[in-house]
Amino acid sequence: MIARLDHATHTTARMQVAGQPFLKLDRVDKTFARGSTSTNVLSDVNLTIERGEYVAVIGHSGCGKSTMLNLIAGLTPVTSGAVLLEGLEVNEPGPERAVVFQNHSLLPWLTCYENVKLAVDKVFSGLKSKAERHDWVLHNLDLVNMVHAKDRRPSEISGGMKQRIGIARALAMEPKVLLLDEPFGALDALTRAQLQDSVMDIHGRLRNTVIMITHDVDEAVLLSDRIVMMTNGPSATIGEVLDIRLPRPRKRLDLVEDKEYVHGRAAVLEFLYARHKAPQVEAAE
């Protein structure tokens, strides 16, 4: 089960043209320094991700998952090592690595349409005509089934709808990598399942590369091709990478009894709760 090797042969074949992995974290280290104290959050993180892969990152709270995502997004600089996208070093944020933030972070003074439009106008300013950009905004709102609420402001829609708009905004940038930081964390179970299905559906159609942080073991196994499991901080790193070889499209009800699904689920649970317990739980025992 433990495989850091590239498994998706069809995608690797496409990538081999340039002879380099699509996205690569190469001996990444991150230390936050504040005054005289410094905390080493991530240490020696190595990971390669192929085009079209759906990768989930799981780990206990505070281990550095968001930090890792921000490094890939370019929002925080690495201390040492490098993040390489198609062989080029990432050193600033950009629309080719679109982020869906945990708290949606829609701009409250813009309507849902305008929030997506802002991104589309910026990314496609020279590439699409005005009418094409308008259609592109609507197309992306349609992907997340939110056209009906396009003229409402974020304060006037539910949490799940906000998250949908956040996803539409990110998708509309046509990113090379879609970065999701606990995208469904604040939602109730039903809404969460609905959105998971939407995301699976969109990933099935667009085949985009996705890195998703999650706390939810089922979500990780259901959605991803690989699950990256982080050890506890400080100086967290990747403990294990688990391949999920479930055929797509996946149906949540069919999977409940599936051997591979049950096995993957057990492996993640075992990693999180037997071998890498949350520090405070460990201390209590």
Partner: protein
């Protein structure tokens, strides 16, 4: 100033409390703007009317209720105060005029704000307009420069370190203390008065704008970074809308201070304004005229305050509902 600010929550703010980093900028001195900012954010959904059209009878009943609750009590109190005043100043030896005496002596001023009977014999409406013109120029400049400087100070750590101590010292200088120096610099009454307005109104605008900029959530900055918005786009698309509630808080305090300062400045510079009118009336012992002018000043100040508040409400409709 403090009273003006605390009286009611001016505008809902997107961020409730101020982060610690802001308190350094604001300091203990800037009590008024901060008190305003920290007032509880109003709930936007609660304020929204339910989308049913009220029946005609309901409308009538509600306007009756409004008259009952918002009009009748202040009218009664004013009548009572006038009565007390009348009784207190009824004796012929009283040093201040009673209402009936004011009515008898200054009827023309009360009834006709826009008469012209000579170069210095104008209706109070004209005088107020002259003063308002000065306020418009001075306050307009203060708004533009203040928001600009506030953005700079809010955005740049270095600008804050360099400018904030200077602001904190200058903002405590009373408006009229600037007058001699501006008279010396401009050698003319009108630009001096405008400068006094400007220098009085600019501090709350700067400080509130800077606080607003500092309070822009990191999320919005991240969004801007991911989209690679340039400086200008960031300013118009993120900074201005995100900090607008704070900016309007500053502007509202600023317009109040402007109106306070113009009257004082005009007393000294002369000319046609309402301030000089009071001074002139005092010199010719027309106490009744002074009382009428005070009422004018109060009403105009009230209208100005409400006007800025209303514009702020319109402009920040989206922002306030974070």
């Amino acid at each position: 100033m403090q009273q003006l600010a605390v009286r009611e929550p001016l505008i809902a703010t997107p961020a409730g409390a101020l982060p610690a980093s802001v308190s350094a900028l604001v300091g203990a001195a800037a009590v008024a703007p901060v008190a305003t900012i920290e007032t509880r954010p109003t709930n936007p959904s609660a304020a929204k009317p339910i989308a049913t059209r009220p029946a005609r009878a309901g409308w009538a009943a509600r306007s009756l209720e409004w008259i009952g609750t918002a009009v009748v009590p202040p009218v009664l109190v004013v009548l009572a105060l006038l009565l007390v005043w009348e009784l207190a100043c009824a004796s012929p030896k009283s040093s201040l005029p009673a209402p009936t005496k004011i009515w008898a002596e200054s009827q023309d001023l009360i009834l006709n704000p826009f008469f012209v009977a000579g170069p210095q014999d104008l209706g109070l409406g004209w005088r107020v307009l002259t003063s308002l013109q000065r306020v418009a120029v001075g306050f307009g400049l203060a708004a533009v420069v203040g928001i600009g400087l506030g953005c700079l100070v809010g955005q740049s750590q270095w600008a804050m370190r360099g400018l904030d101590p200077i602001f904190q010292v200058l903002r405590t200088v009373p408006p009229l203390a600037w007058l001699p120096i501006s008279l010396a610099a401009f050698r003319d009454a009108n630009p001096s008065a405008i400068f006094v307005i400007f220098i009085t109104a600019i501090w709350p605008v700067i400080i509130n704008t800077a606080v607003g900029i500092r309070n822009i959530p990191q999320d919005y900055r991240n969004v801007a970074q991911v989209l690679r918005l340039n400086q200008l786009e960031f300013f118009w698309r993120i900074m201005v809308p995100a900090a607008a509630p704070y900016m309007f808080t500053g502007l509202r305090i600023g317009i109040g201070l402007s109106w306070l300062a113009i009257v004082a400045a005009e007393m000294l510079t002369g000319g046609v304004g309402i301030g000089f009118f009071i001074w002139d009336a005092w010199n010719s012992s027309k106490l009744s005229d002074i009382v009428v002018a005070l009422v004018y000043i109060g009403l105009v100040g009230f209208v100005l305050d409400r006007l800025v508040a209303y514009v702020g409400k319109l402009a920040t409709r989206g922002t306030a509902a974070a």
